[in-house]
């Protein structure tokens, strides 16, 4: 600990021990604990206490004081735990009988303070930190802490209850991980008394008829198997698995969620040869209700090593709800469905039809689980792509009311699902996920037709529509290309022709979320298919480009931003609205540039302006025809507008654009790898001079220097990087040596100093290339970069500052108190 902190510590301890001094807040106390943890991890706790007796005094004082706040009491318990984690320090504290007084029955445990959850939580956390060595175990046994922890498992505060469970696991692990672990047999009969006691308690809980108690036992075991990896855990499972299996015999299965968590936790840590475990899992799958079994089935399928039979059973559970839907909606007995040979389970049908919430919940879970499995390498194989596609399409049709099932179950399902947005969203997500695989053409046609139905339907809510657009995009992008031709296949082409009128209508929707979704879809489509003749043809024949352009004036800023991105993308591919005057093809494009510049300089919201900057950067990078025509004028205009912007992201994007311009003039930036050996390549002097002239003309330096002292750190950092890059390129340029002493440079430096001090009103004036190079040399860019790299609160984060702040806060309060008198 540094001396300054040591000096401040007694005062702080006095403040903490004084009930009349309200301590700033919990965050300060947490920070203080973090600091003490760091200090004790770095050195000896015993030494710390010996050098700073005020700490032990604080702990003693806390015990004596009656009217201390529960926060301070909790803090002290945790602090004592931190110190006692080292065995020598533990002994030291034991000598003073401090620990029994804090954690034993004479301490807060029996007092009024115990009613505060914070104190109970502090007690548990203190013990949790303390329990690191055999002495601690003896102490726990001696003070009867384990019984208290048992009772805290049922604490009304969930935090306390959960922490109590974790502490039990920690103690169990500590007991079992002792030096004798290797010799200990997995049979639990010769385990130490403390372990026996805990395990006995778990056994009792598992046999209890009180469901919360069963849940507690199961969650303790889940934690144990999830976090402890000693051999003893196997013995524990051998001992407890019969009790767990007995839970399955009850109807309904108690605490099913926790049971599933436990079994999965055991399965993840158990060896794959454990046949009993797989047997239990299989049994559980068949005992649990369809809704409860879903998460277990998903967990089993995610396991790396697991018997195929069990995987098949688990996959069957996930597929059941969809199989039911498929069967119920089938017009006639068709080809084998999802579950070959097996008809839909009647229990599943009953669950689906029991209530709307049960049906919706089950289907959404099944769709979400299957959607999660789909991209995994260990997903079941063969993956029933076609029936799953069929099921997703059927569910979507039932939800839209367009399916006309003939069966009774189908009719009732339809009545439950029709118009249900939650299932629609889940099914569309799932359908999108399925686009990664292929399917028979007939089904793919059905997929596109149901997607179109959703895109067309006025009844689709904006969220459903967004999902429908996302799924459509995924399917369009994954649709097979015609061999030997880079164009879209005829089906996609046909779909696009039907889709564009829908986009047109949706772009006029009074709901801004809908307009926004269409623009996002259009941007993505154009990005990926802008070069394909079929897409271009269909798009240009529609009014979509024109309507998109009109949305640049939308009243909603998010829509304007999306419209900017979309028109930018369309324009990049030459797909913007057809020129009004056929003779001058550039007119329209130029007007778009002007319009975007207008948005950049006048729009009151940040999003559209940021979008414009991104579009401009992309245009410059890709050599957009209208930008390339006069890049210098373009960059000058954009930088001028960006430099005045109040939004730091716009200014940062301006630097990005400046960098692209620089790279185009001077060549690519070197490798971004910090360990790259090669030095940045310098530009030939002729090129450099010319480039500097250009950069001066576009006033890039004024922009960059201004940004260097920007009040927003990311802007300053970016500018610093840019100038460093430029300096590296310009390094060997000798001609500018003399310019360093010219009066021009001196005045610029003076201006920059004023800028740095916050007075940014004065302009820099025109800069000569020579002066720029001199400036680049004279400014300590590396130093600036290092300063900027430190987080803005690096000064405030120091422990010394923390202590000072806490004292100052109290000090100020003290003054006020004096004023009152």
């Amino acid at each position: 600990m540094d001396p300054e902190c040591s000096r401040l510590l007694p005062a702080l301890c006095a403040v903490l021990a004084d009930p009349r001094q309200p301590v700033a807040d919990d965050t300060c106390l947490e920070k203080l604990l973090d600091w003490f943890t760091a200090v004790t991890e770095a050195g000896s706790s015993l030494l710390l206490l010996q050098e700073n007796p005020c700490l032990v005094e604080l702990l003693f004082h806390v015990l004596k004081s009656q009217d201390l706040s529960s926060r301070i009491l909790s803090f002290s318990l945790r602090l004592a735990g931190i110190f006692a984690a080292q065995e020598d320090c533990f002994q030291y504290l034991q000598q003073g009988e401090l620990l029994p007084m804090l954690f034993g029955e004479v301490g807060p445990l029996g007092g009024a303070a115990w009613t505060a959850p914070a104190v109970r939580s502090g007690w548990i956390q203190g013990l949790r930190t303390l329990a690191q060595h055999p002495s601690a175990l003896h102490f726990l046994a001696a003070c009867g802490a384990v019984d208290t922890i048992f009772s805290l498992q049922g604490d009304p505060s969930l935090f306390v209850a959960s922490a109590a469970g974790q502490l039990l696991v920690h103690i169990l692990d500590l007991v079992m991980r002792g030096p004798a672990e290797g010799r200990r047999s997995p049979q639990a009969c010769d385990w130490p008394a403390c372990a026996q006691k805990i395990v006995g308690h778990i056994e009792d809980s598992l046999c209890s008829t009180d469901i919360p108690q069963v849940t507690q036992a199961l969650s303790v075991l889940t934690t144990a198997f999830g976090h402890c990896h000693g051999l003893w855990t196997q013995g524990l499972w051998v001992r407890l698995s019969p009790l767990v299996a007995r839970l399955l015999e009850k109807d309904p299965v108690p605490a099913s969620h926790s049971l599933v968590d436990l079994l999965l936790s055991v399965a993840r840590s158990a060896p794959s040869s454990d046949r009993d475990l797989w047997e239990t899992l299989a049994q559980t799958l068949s005992h649990l209700s369809p809704t409860q079994a879903g998460p277990l089935a998903l967990g089993i399928l995610k396991l790396q090593d697991c018997p195929q039979v069990l995987r098949t059973q688990a996959f069957g559970i996930l597929l059941q709800p969809l199989a039911c839907v498929l069967e119920a909606a089938a017009q006639a007995p068709g080809p084998p469905g999802l579950l070959e040979g097996a008809a839909a389970d009647s229990m599943m049908v009953d669950t689906l039809l029991s209530s709307k919430s049960a049906c919706v919940g089950l289907l959404c879970c099944a769709l979400a689980h299957l959607g999660l499995l789909q991209p995994l390498p260990q997903r079941p194989s063969p993956w029933p792509q076609a029936p799953l596609l069929g099921a997703a399409v059927t569910i979507l049709r039932l939800c839209s009311g367009s399916a006309a099932p003939t069966s009774d179950v189908g009719g009732r399902l339809c009545a439950i699902l029709v118009g249900c947005g939650r299932v629609q969203r889940a099914a569309l997500d799932f359908l999108g996920a399925l686009s990664q695989g292929t399917g028979p053409q007939e089904l793919v046609t059905q997929v596109f037709s149901v997607l179109l139905e959703y895109l067309v339907s006025p009844e689709s809510s904006s969220m459903v529509l967004k999902k429908a657009f996302q799924a459509t995009l995924r399917w369009l992008l994954s649709s097979p290309k015609t061999p030997g031709c880079c164009d879209l296949d005829p089906h996609t082409q046909l779909f696009l022709r039907e889709l564009l009128p829908v986009l047109q209508k949706r772009l006029c929707s009074p709901c801004w979320e809908v307009r926004d979704s269409v623009l996002e879809f259009l941007t993505q489509m154009t990005r990926h298919c802008g070069g394909q003749a079929g897409f271009r043809q269909a798009l240009l024949a529609s009014e979509v480009p024109e309507l998109t352009k009109q949305l640049l004036r939308d009243p909603e800023s998010y829509v304007r931003a999306s419209a900017v991105t979309a028109t930018g993308q369309l324009s990049s591919w030459g797909l913007c609205a057809t020129p009004a005057i056929p003779e001058c093809p550039g007119a329209q494009q130029e007007s778009l540039l002007v319009e975007l510049l207008h948005i950049l300089s006048t729009d009151s919201e940040g999003f559209p302006r940021r979008a414009v900057m991104q579009v401009f950067t992309e245009w410059l990078r890709d050599g957009h025809a209208d930008v390339a025509e006069d890049a210098e004028r373009f960059v000058a205009g954009v930088l001028q507008a960006a430099s005045r912007d109040l939004d730091w992201e716009v200014r940062a994007q301006g630097l990005e654009l400046a960098l692209v311009f620089l790279e185009q003039l001077l060549g690519q930036r070197g490798s971004h790898c910090p360990y790259a050996v090669a030095l940045p390549e310098t530009a030939p002097p002729g090129v450099l001079d010319q480039a500097l002239q250009v950069l001066c003309r576009v006033q890039l330096f004024e922009f960059a220097f201004r940004a260097l002292f920007d009040c927003d750190r990311p802007v300053a950092q970016k500018s610093c990087d840019l100038l460093l890059f430029l300096r590296a390129k310009a390094a060997p340029c000798g001609s500018s040596q003399e310019a360093g002493d010219s009066p021009n440079v001196a005045s610029v430096e003076a201006t920059l100093q004023r800028w740095q001090a916050g007075e940014q009103g004065q302009p820099l004036g025109y800069l000569e290339p020579g002066a720029v190079v001199a400036l680049l040399r004279s400014i300590d860019l590396e130093g600036l970069r290092d300063t900027l790299a430190e987080s803005s609160d690096h000064v405030e984060k120091s422990p010394q500052s923390l202590l000072q702040d806490m004292l100052a806060a109290v000090g100020v309060l003290g003054e006020n108190e004096a004023d009152c008198y």
């Binding site: 399916a403 006309a404 099932p405 009545a415 029709v418 006025p458 009844e459 929707s509 009074p510």
Partner: protein
């Protein structure tokens, strides 16, 4: 209690309820779907319509070619349009005491009922219903009268001939009852019979029942009605809405505890959500106008149009449509727009508060002020000078058979740039468009029906818990075109009773109580006796006096002094016999104690048998049987009156007398 169903149209109901001694007509809607079988009435001479070929039978017989014309495969009657009236033969309508109107759409048949059936009663309706109803009738009369048509076709209605006609004429029902439109004079006379009522106002009908209108949330002044006596309650729910549109919200709480709930006027398009439809309407409108096309909205002059104008008010600026003119053309356009602004007390809370600012409750005032919305009585006159395209025109009639809309259909139908957007749900848009085929203009169907859908009905019924629900048969099964949609029907327990046109329903509900008042002096004379804690009884001898459905117990007249005269008394002067009444008994007989008492009194050989209703005590020796039941005790013995009296007295010992 009976319900006579005079209309088969679920949203244009006309039912007669006989309840206690009253005959109450619930609504008198006019089914205008019949007009779809007629050719449109063009305001301006239309060569296309006048040159349509006459229709002839398959065998070439052309005797109907003057009456029936063919257009794109459909056959239309070339005559003044006619309407299908409610049933007039099922019940003598002159016996109807009152007519209760629930909203302005459901009163369009009123002149037919009040002016031609001998009706002498009163009509009850709210002020907005009457005023807007008048506008609707005025518009209808105006539309039809301003295009006089000499020809009146009737030959085709002959049953033998109708059979030979193509559909839908062949299947048209009750054609013989179809009538031409009423006149303005009849309208005025009918409306003069209306008495205005306010929400929650209690109206006594002959002392027998009380009727009360409640806000139904569907339109300005729209009401549901409670018809109740002291012990029975019938709720009539017609055209209600739970959506937040311009009218006052629906009063659901007052519908609770009904014995019978008659449910009509649900949404006609249960699959279309009004919000989505408004979105669709705006999108299509904007798309058309941006492309330089015109938009035609066939509509009624009141109702949804107010909400549409409000949505457009919010939408046009954002959609860049500020420069597009909106025209509202109707003979009653001006009155409708102005009426809407003055019925503040009938509006939703938000709009009511605006009035206190003071601001007009509807934003269409601002649209008019800024010249964005212009209204005209017809296409003639000022409109032709101001007309600018592209534009949006709101005009009637939604059936496309008469009104200014006919002109715009003829004018804009040929261009695919233009769009007609149907927002009124009353007519099938395909049938409405049939006489305009072939049509190049785009047709969009966005029916906006804010009335209750089946999900809302199901919640409502759960909430108000009526004992019985009565509804049109259409609501008890899924729509024919979507037979799998079992969610599109009323689902309640016990199942709803359904009715169809010309059916009489006996409502499953018996009256069990009647309220009787007791005169104070008579009440004074009562001496109640507590027979068990909290329950006291007293006997009363009185005369029941019944007048105007009110029942009063009066003290019996004193027995007249015998005059000794020989005057013959008139029958009406008869004084009721006031015999001295035997005391009334109460209580129950404990069998075991009774048997012990019998034994004490010397009866032996007693046997007790349990029966379903009580016990039988057998006195075998005396060959007597005492049958003890919950509400009666019989002593059966063979002509031994002494024994019977003895036994009776023993029984009476166990009972209380008063």
């Amino acid at each position: 209690m009976k319900l006579y169903c005079l209309s088969g149209h679920p949203t244009l109901p006309c039912n007669v309820l006989k309840f206690k001694s009253t005959t109450i007509m619930l609504d008198c809607g006019l089914d205008m779907n019949s007009t779809l079988n007629f050719l449109p009435l063009p305001l301006v001479q239309s060569p296309r319509l006048s040159n349509l070929p006459g229709w002839s039978l398959k065998d070439g017989n052309a005797f109907l070619d003057k009456e029936l014309k063919e257009c794109s495969g459909h056959v239309f009657v070339d005559s003044v349009p006619e309407f299908c009236l409610p049933e007039t033969e099922l019940i003598d309508l002159s016996t109807v005491d009152v007519i209760l109107i629930s909203n302005y759409h459901c009163m369009m048949a009123l002149p037919y009922i009040t002016e031609h059936t001998g009706f002498t009663g009163t009509v009850y309706a709210t002020e907005p219903s009457v005023q807007i109803g008048r506008l609707l009738m005025e518009e209808l009369v105006n539309f039809i009268e301003r295009v006089p048509k000499a020809q009146s076709a009737s030959l085709w209605k002959n049953k033998d001939i109708q059979r030979l006609l193509p559909s839908p004429l062949k299947d048209a029902v009750e054609v013989s009852t179809w009538r031409r439109c009423y006149t303005m004079q009849e309208v005025n006379s009918a409306l003069s019979k209306i008495q205005l009522v306010g929400y929650s106002q209690k109206i006594e009908l002959f002392g027998a029942v009380q009727v009360t209108p409640l806000s139904s949330g569907y339109a300005l002044g729209s009401s549901n009605w409670i018809i109740q006596s002291h012990y029975e309650k019938v709720s009539y729910v017609s055209g209600s809405s739970l959506l937040t549109t311009h009218p006052q919200p629906m009063d659901q709480a007052s519908l609770k505890n009904s014995d019978v709930l008659i449910l009509t006027g649900l949404t006609q398009i249960p699959t279309a959500n009004p919000d989505s439809m408004v979105g669709e309407f705006c999108s299509n409108l904007a798309l058309t106008v941006r492309n330089g096309g015109n938009v035609l909205v066939p509509c009624y002059p009141s109702g949804v149009i107010y909400d549409l104008l409000e949505c457009l008010y919010q939408y046009i600026d954002s959609a860049g449509l500020s420069s597009i003119p909106f025209y509202f053309i109707s003979p009653v356009a001006n009155s409708s727009l102005e009426f809407s602004q003055i019925f503040a007390e009938w509006l939703c809370h938000n709009k009511q508060t605006k009035v206190y600012l003071p601001e007009p409750p509807f934003p269409h005032a601002e649209l008019i002020q800024t010249n964005k919305l212009k209204h005209y009585p017809s296409i003639h006159g000022d409109f032709s000078n101001d007309f600018r395209q592209p534009c949006v025109v709101f005009t009637g009639h939604p059936s496309l058979r008469f009104g200014d809309v006919v002109h715009f259909m003829e004018l804009w139908g040929k261009s695919s740039l233009n769009t007609v957007i149907f927002t009124e749900p009353d007519f099938s848009y395909l049938e409405a468009l049939a006489p305009y085929q072939p049509l190049a203009m785009k047709c969009i169907y966005c029916p906006i029906d804010t009335r209750l859908n089946f999900i809302q009905v199901s919640k409502l019924l759960k909430e108000v818990q009526p004992l019985h629900v009565v509804c049109p048969e259409q609501y008890t099964q899924p729509p024919p075109a979507q037979s799998h949609r079992i969610d599109l029907m009323i689902d309640c327990q016990p199942p709803a009773m359904s009715y169809r046109r010309a059916e009489v329903l006996a409502l499953p509900f018996k009256r069990r109580y009647e309220k009787i008042e007791i005169m104070p002096e008579l009440a004074d004379s009562l001496v109640p006796m507590e027979i068990k804690p909290g329950v006291s009884l007293a006997t009363v001898s009185a005369v029941l006096h019944t007048k105007d459905n009110k029942h009063i117990l009066q003290p019996p007249p004193r027995p007249a002094q015998p005059t000794g005269g020989k005057k013959r008394k008139r029958a009406s002067d008869d004084i009721p016999d006031c015999k001295v009444l035997k005391p009334l008994l109460s209580g129950s007989i404990p069998v075991e104690q009774f048997v012990q008492t019998l034994e004490k009194h010397g009866f032996s050989d007693i046997k007790v048998e349990d029966t379903a209703k009580g016990h039988i005590v057998l006195l075998q020796e005396a060959e007597t049987l005492i049958q003890i039941e919950e509400d009666s005790t019989h002593i059966i013995c063979d002509n031994d009156e002494m024994l019977r009296v003895r036994l009776r007295d023993l029984v009476l010992k166990f009972l209380q007398k008063f």
